[in-house]
């Protein structure tokens, strides 16, 4: 069903403001963070206005309400990705979720399947966001494990020809992005998960750019861990998600209140998952806000969001490529591709182009997009990225194209 974008946009108060001296806001930076519908802002505010109390603690009505709201949000997240509530850990960000996994692996006792030694290998890809690269570099350095990676081909796809040698018999972790935040490439999980299974490696999926944009069912993906951030899915900042159906086998990473079973002066034991991974008073209002965001997306339907973005991506790819000297950096077809569209425009540096677009009210991201090894591999110092969401429309593409042509004249 086609989205009623005009109505959807009315739900987002930010689209009522203007930027740079009265210009209409053309927001094409949802890959960095999405805008928030009124329902999310309201839910986060209402938590503080009406229900605020520390969850899982107080012996009073507010604590009960806060706990219900927080645990209700956990169930909403679980339902959204086809999981069980006890498989969902709230973190402050997807970055923290990945660090949690990597540090928990460091804490795993010798002999555990999560414990890494110098005999083991971690596999990533060249298109990873720094958040799904550096924690693994660091785990490799702490454990002595080797780090290998899938290379990226000039068309923006992973080179799977050498899949059996990259995911070698000694591989214990395969950490991979579902959808590249630079190229828009959706990676072929089936082949990678199948090979990881063969060698007994766990698969960690960075789903930051996929969960907000397409229907996801963790049971069908076959991965062991999945992470995403709330703020890219219409939710508040400060709330991230870690999903796994193997949390009971994983030792904790952060220690303190709420995550314990029993404590003496000498030692402590741990609560069952997911509480074992949620030390301290959590980001409650933000979790509740994320719950409201997922309600909002469900009401529209993730199939519809996906279809809308695919149609829009097709239009953007077609129109952008009509601009002389503009080169798309990433797949040109819609097959296994999402709505992050990176490009270069002749000799205009992306930072200058971004500045010009900003002067026209158009918000894009420029630079290496926290994937520096990828931009280096592709031989570009930086790119300009338009990333789309359910509130974007074709007319914004037309304005972007016009502004790029004007920028070419400005910097000629």
């Amino acid at each position: 069903m086609p989205l009623d974008v005009a109505t959807i946009r009315q739900d987002f108060p930010i689209f009522r403001r203007t930027v740079r001296d009265g210009k209409k806001l053309i927001y094409l930076d949802s890959g960095a963070t999405s805008q928030k519908p009124e329902a999310v802002i309201q839910a986060e505010g209402d938590f503080y206005r009406l229900h605020n109390a520390a969850v899982h603690r107080g012996a009073h009505q507010l604590a009960e309400e806060a706990t219900d709201a927080y645990e209700g949000a956990r169930s909403k997240v679980a339902n959204f990705i086809g999981a069980q509530a006890e498989e969902i850990v709230f973190t402050k960000s997807a970055t923290e979720s990945i660090n949690l996994i990597a540090y928990a692996m460091s804490n795993a006792p010798t002999g555990s399947r999560f414990a890494l030694t110098s005999k083991d290998r971690i596999v990533v890809t060249e298109m990873e966001h720094h958040a799904n690269l550096i924690p693994w570099q660091q785990l490799a350095s702490r454990s002595g494990a080797k780090l290998s990676w899938f290379e990226v081909l000039p068309d923006g796809r992973l080179d799977l020809n050498s899949i059996n040698s990259v995911i070698s018999a000694d591989t214990k972790v395969v950490a991979i992005t579902h959808q590249s935040n630079v190229l828009g490439t959706v990676n072929p999980l089936e082949a990678i998960v199948a090979r990881a299974r063969e060698v007994g490696a766990v698969v960690v999926l960075d789903a930051c750019q996929s969960v907000p944009h397409m229907p996801i069912d963790v049971k069908k993906l076959g991965v062991d861990f999945l992470v995403f951030s709330g703020h890219k899915a219409l939710g508040p900042t400060g709330i991230g998600v870690l999903w796994s159906n193997q949390l009971d086998d994983l030792p904790p990473f952060l220690f303190g209140g709420s995550m314990i079973e029993n404590v003496t002066m000498e030692s402590a034991t741990w609560a069952p998952a997911p509480k074992r991974f949620e030390a301290g008073v959590p980001n409650m209002a933000q979790a509740v806000g994320l719950g409201a965001a997922l309600d909002y997306l469900n009401a529209i339907g993730m199939e519809n969001v996906f279809e809308h973005e695919m149609q829009l991506t097709k239009y953007f790819l077609e129109e952008l490529q009509k601009v002389p000297t503009l080169k798309i950096v990433g797949p040109l077809d819609l097959e296994n591709r999402g709505s992050c569209i990176s490009f270069t425009v002749g000799e205009i540096h992306p930072h200058d182009l971004g500045q010009y677009l900003d002067s026209q009210g158009i918000a894009v991201r420029t630079g290496h997009h926290c994937a520096w090894p990828l931009t280096r591999k592709l031989g570009v110092p930086a790119t300009t990225r338009a990333s789309l969401y359910l509130y974007n429309q074709e007319s914004e593409c037309d304005l972007l194209v016009k502004a790029i042509v004007d920028a070419q004249r400005y910097f000629a």
Partner: protein
């Protein structure tokens, strides 16, 4: 348009026709600086004679602001005494952090006053400072090295 305030003709001229671009074969100090937020990179060679700056050459990739700024710096600081170059650099840094409240002294900063508009665009200040920070780092290394003390000594 506000944008013209940022992209002054002088800046675009330096960007299109950069001065001292291309690294010299010989130098006293070479530094490499990166702007981690946008990936701009610059390599800068500094040669001194006594306390006087003999040459500044550079190479790099970056936006018009960063490229023009290093071009202006390399032209402005050459043949200056290092103490004077430091003072000019300080004035430039001060101008960049002025949030649009200062115009810069054209007697001291010459072409670099064209950068004044950058101070109103927080995301671009680091671009404008990249080359100057590279220079300052190179100058500090010269001053700290033993041979540099000889250089400075011979100039007095």
């Amino acid at each position: 348009m506000e944008l013209d305030n940022l992209y002054q003709e002088v800046i675009l001229d330096h960007y299109k026709h950069p001065l001292n671009k291309g690294l010299s074969d010989s130098y006293d100090v070479q530094v490499h600086h990166i702007n981690p937020s946008c990936g701009d990179e610059i390599t800068l060679n500094l040669s001194v004679e006594g306390s006087k700056i003999k040459s500044i050459t550079w190479d790099g990739v970056g936006c018009s602001i960063s490229q023009a700024s290093v071009s202006i710096a390399s032209d402005l600081l050459v043949d200056k005494d290092m103490d004077e170059a430091d003072a000019i650099t300080e004035q430039f840094i001060d101008l960049m952090h002025s949030k649009g409240t200062k115009e810069g002294d054209p007697e001291v900063l010459e072409d670099a006053v064209a950068m004044a508009g950058v101070s109103k665009f927080p995301a671009r200040i680091k671009c404008a400072l990249l080359g100057w920070m590279a220079y300052r780092d190179a100058a500090d290394r010269i001053k700290q090295s033993g041979s540099a003390r000889d250089h400075r000594g011979s100039g007095q």
